[in-house]
């Protein structure tokens, strides 16, 4: 069984997922949300960094200037 590749444009979140450390800035995050971290450790999913320009899920969070580009990239034409 392999892993599913997921692209994320936030280095901080990726570091937090890959390295199980709790710092002053992340200790308030509830245990249930560390579920993702566990699945990364079990190699069921893999997070890879991608630049914000290449982030195709941007269309689902905000309507920006690159809306058209994003729309084409997720296969709507």
């Amino acid at each position: 069984m392999g892993h599913v590749q997921i692209y994320c444009d936030n280095q901080g979140a990726i570091q937090l997922l890959k390295h199980p450390i709790t710092s002053q800035r992340s200790k308030h995050i509830d245990v249930i949300h560390h579920f993702a971290k566990e699945r990364v450790a079990r190699k069921e999913v893999n997070f890879v960094f991608c630049k914000t320009e290449d982030m195709k899920a941007d269309i689902l969070t905000k309507a920006l200037g690159k809306f058209k580009k994003c729309r084409k990239e997720i296969g709507i034409e």
Binding site: Y7, G12, A13, L16, S26, H33, A36, R39, L60
Partner: protein, 233 residues
């Protein structure tokens, strides 16, 4: 397969699928692509609000026009807000992930819409005027499955909660997507992205299980992937 089914059940063969659950399917054998559209439903929606000749917008909901709870209450007897947003919601779930964020934002005010919300809803309909024949196209790429996750930090002005957005692409077309307000307030962009990563992992695990269930069919998909192996179940 067909013979096996007809032996057990009464089956009528209507040929290749062209219409399914209100979605039009069109297959391009030469380009090896499949397109899902909802032209009929979109056309009906546009004409219902008398916007057929309206000027189109380039985006469904401009980022600078943030929606708020407060405002002049809308007379819902005259302006069917929930009906309009409901129709848009159906479109965004079926073949138009591009309006997912806008419709999600509008649906938050279903209980007490204001005049500004109604105008924004009509703005989304106007956006559709220019792209009636657009739909999901599969076959543009060889990647079997790849996910993208993002978050909009503190996008909701009333609660300051963030929005999770993710999309899974298969052969260049979106197969699963979501745009949802997060349940709790995130204190940093990292936390917002981290919470959205949690959501996307749940969906990815479901896809992984589906891959196992499909078994040999899935291997066939996999062998067609020429690029770096993104999804290997």
């Amino acid at each position: 397969m067909k013979a096996h089914l007809t032996a057990k059940f009464y089956v009528r063969d209507l040929g290749p699928a062209t219409y399914f659950l209100g979605m039009e399917l069109s297959c391009d054998q030469e380009a090896r692509s499949l397109k899902l559209t909802q032209k009929k439903l979109t056309g009906e929606l546009i004409s219902r609000y008398g916007l057929a000749d309206a000027r189109t917008c380039s985006v469904p909901l401009a980022a600078r026009e943030k929606l708020r709870k407060e405002g002049e209450p809308l007379d819902t007897m005259r302006f069917p807000y929930s009906e309009c947003v409901g129709s848009l919601l159906y479109l965004s779930v079926c073949t138009r992930p591009n309006i997912g964020q806008a419709v999600g934002a509008l649906a938050r005010y279903m209980a007490a819409p204001t005049v500004a919300h109604w105008e924004a809803a009509l703005g989304v309909v106007r956006y559709l005027v220019g792209i009636v024949d657009y739909g999901l196209t599969f076959g543009g790429s060889n990647e079997t499955l790849v996910g993208y996750c993002d978050a909009d930090y503190a996008g909701d002005l009333d609660s300051r909660r963030s929005t999770t957005g993710y999309v899974f692409l298969m052969f260049g077309g979106a197969v699963s997507w979501s745009s949802r307000l997060q349940p709790t307030v995130a204190v940093s962009t990292v936390e917002a992205e981290y919470l959205s990563a949690g959501q996307v992992v749940k969906e990815a695990l479901w896809f992984r299980k589906l891959g196992v269930d499909l078994g040999s069919t899935w291997d066939m998909f996999k062998s067609t992937a020429t690029t770096k192996e993104q999804f290997s179940c």
